[in-house]
């Protein structure tokens, strides 16, 4: 697997064996997730070419990844529709089955949608949701706390971000369970298996639900400006026009796909690691001041979005490599997070690591729009788990990683055991999933914050 020089018509490419979809990756994963495995050739090949999937470049070096990710004019995220390449490219290698919302758009088209949603996901707005996140965490921990055991993934890490994302969007809550399952199962299954067929059926129903939800919302415009993300997409003029139903749908799928299973995976990875390092679990529990830096360290080590792709819009040099127009480039965030040039002692988990300039939320204009939400959820859930289930343990043989780690490194199942404790009560009830007062208050306050931000922006322009 040593890097070799290969003569081509145009240039000399540094090549290595690399395949981010390899089913073998999962078997090589150790304590630190898939990052160190994807980056194992970094020293000789921080930016190289592989022949897998029709050929693409991969960036596992921090400097090389940053160079590509922050130059969004040269390295595009959009999908191309040409005669030869109908609906190709975007951020997946191979191309994703459907356009992943504004993540797969460039320039002004991308920027205007992002700008419209940003006030609702700004840190000031997200802070208003803190009591809701606490209530949801209480609710789902209460469901299992008396039993002394649960599947951390299915019972806690998946439902909390799922219900919260639906609340932020303003989606009806009664379908939270099949929606969360649809997100989780499409990652947890391999193509051409009965499990994947079931997952695809769930996703199909989920998309049908979204189509109906969008139609209903479009029929009822709000009287006093948007009240949630769905109102923004359905009723706010973006760049001088209303979005089409299909545009709204793909953006909704991105918000749900980006917001739900990624946060789930990160919390799963953190709890898995803490269960297998009980001395660190106790250290974090006993010193809440560590939580800030510990979360960033979990984000660095266990980047849930393993990597995303770009396409070169013109011939361009990256390091000493010549990239041709149209070449695809895979940005291996999980690998760049272990670059020893940037991170001292990169293969050691340090709960107090700082600075920590991980690439987990992406770099540049496509940086994760929901990162403030993610950090709030991770903080609350980890804090509550450490407080209410302080002695949690995990049977290392019973846990299972996703079969394909190319886009998301996460967990199929993570059974944990802990000393049973008392319920604390919550307004949200998973069984009936009725709207809660606490979420109505949060939504109203966040609406107010978003409107203020909008007003400020209008004045500045």
């Amino acid at each position: 697997m040593t890097g070799t020089e290969e003569k081509t018509d145009t240039t000399t490419r540094r090549t290595a064996e690399f395949d981010h979809h390899s089913p073998d990756l999962k078997n090589q994963v150790g304590d630190l997730g898939v990052g160190p495995i994807l980056g194992k050739e970094r020293a000789s090949c921080p930016f190289g070419w592989t022949e897998a999937h029709g050929g693409y470049w991969f960036a596992t070096g921090y400097k090389e990844l940053k160079r590509v990710a922050t130059d969004d004019r040269t390295f595009t995220s959009g999908r191309r529709t040409t005669v030869e390449e109908l609906d190709s490219n975007g951020v997946g290698i191979p191309t994703l089955p459907a356009q992943f919302g504004f993540l797969e758009m460039d320039g002004q088209d991308h920027q205007v949608v992002r700008r419209a949603l940003m006030p609702w996901l700004a840190s000031e707005a997200v802070a208003r949701w803190r009591p809701v996140i606490k209530d949801l965490t209480n609710a789902f921990l209460d469901e299992v706390i008396e039993k002394g055991e649960c599947d951390f993934l299915e019972d806690i890490a998946s439902p909390i971000p799922a219900v919260l994302t639906m609340m932020l969007m303003g989606a009806p809550l009664r379908k939270w369970k099949p929606w969360a399952e649809a997100q989780h199962q499409q990652m947890a299954t391999l193509p051409d298996t009965p499990e994947r067929a079931r997952a695809e059926q769930l996703v199909g129903e989920h998309v049908q639900d979204l189509i109906e939800m969008i139609a209903e919302r479009r029929a009822t415009p709000p009287e006093n400006g948007p009240r949630d993300l769905l109102d923004v997409l359905c009723h706010q003029e973006i760049d001088g026009r209303l979005l089409s139903d299909n545009e709204i749908l793909i953006h909704c799928i991105l918000l749900i796909g980006g917001g739900v299973d990624t946060t789930t995976s990160l919390m799963g990875s953190a709890v898995r690691w803490l269960a297998q390092h009980p001395e660190k679990r106790d250290e974090l529990r006993d010193d809440p001041n560590l939580m800030k830096t510990a979360i960033e360290e979990f984000l660095r080590v266990f980047a849930p979005v393993t990597g995303l792709a770009r396409t070169a819009a013109c011939p361009v040099q990256v390091g000493d490599q010549q990239v041709a127009e149209g070449d695809r480039i895979y940005l291996a965030y999980a690998a760049a997070n272990f670059d020893p040039e940037v991170f001292d002692d990169a293969e050691t988990v340090k709960l107090d690591r700082w600075p920590n300039k991980h690439t987990t939320f992406g770099l540049g204009k496509h940086r994760c729009i929901g990162l403030h939400v993610a950090r709030e959820v991770i903080n609350t859930v980890l804090t509550e788990v450490l407080t209410r289930m302080p002695d949690f343990t995990m049977d290392a043989d019973a846990i299972e990683m996703y079969p394909d780690l190319a886009v998301n490194q996460g967990w199929v199942t993570l059974p944990i055991k802990f000393t049973p404790g008392p319920r604390v009560g919550s307004e949200f009830k998973p069984a009936d999933a009725a709207q809660t007062k606490v979420s109505e208050v949060a939504a109203a306050e966040a609406t107010h914050v978003a409107a203020e931000i909008e007003h400020r922006t209008d004045e500045a322009l």
Binding site: T70, W354, P355, N356, R367
Partner: protein, 66 residues
């Protein structure tokens, strides 16, 4: 203690908000870091200010003692 952010250097990494959300926020308009209430750092936030300066990947934050 005083804190300053060089907006031209800021690339929106958000690490300063992790370190010092009482002092700094990310502007939803520009997606760059801005000070919440001026350059003077209250004594109880001095550690947070130092952490923000140390944590900025672009070294866009400067902290100085009076």
């Amino acid at each position: 203690m005083r804190i300053e952010i060089d907006e031209d250097l800021c690339a929106g990494h958000t690490m300063c908000v992790v370190a010092a959300h009482d002092l700094i926020e990310i502007s939803p308009e520009t997606e760059r870091a801005v000070l919440r209430c001026g350059k003077d750092v209250p004594p109880e936030l001095e550690d947070a200010a130092l952490m923000a300066a140390a944590g900025c990947p672009e070294q866009a934050i400067k902290v100085s003692k009076d």
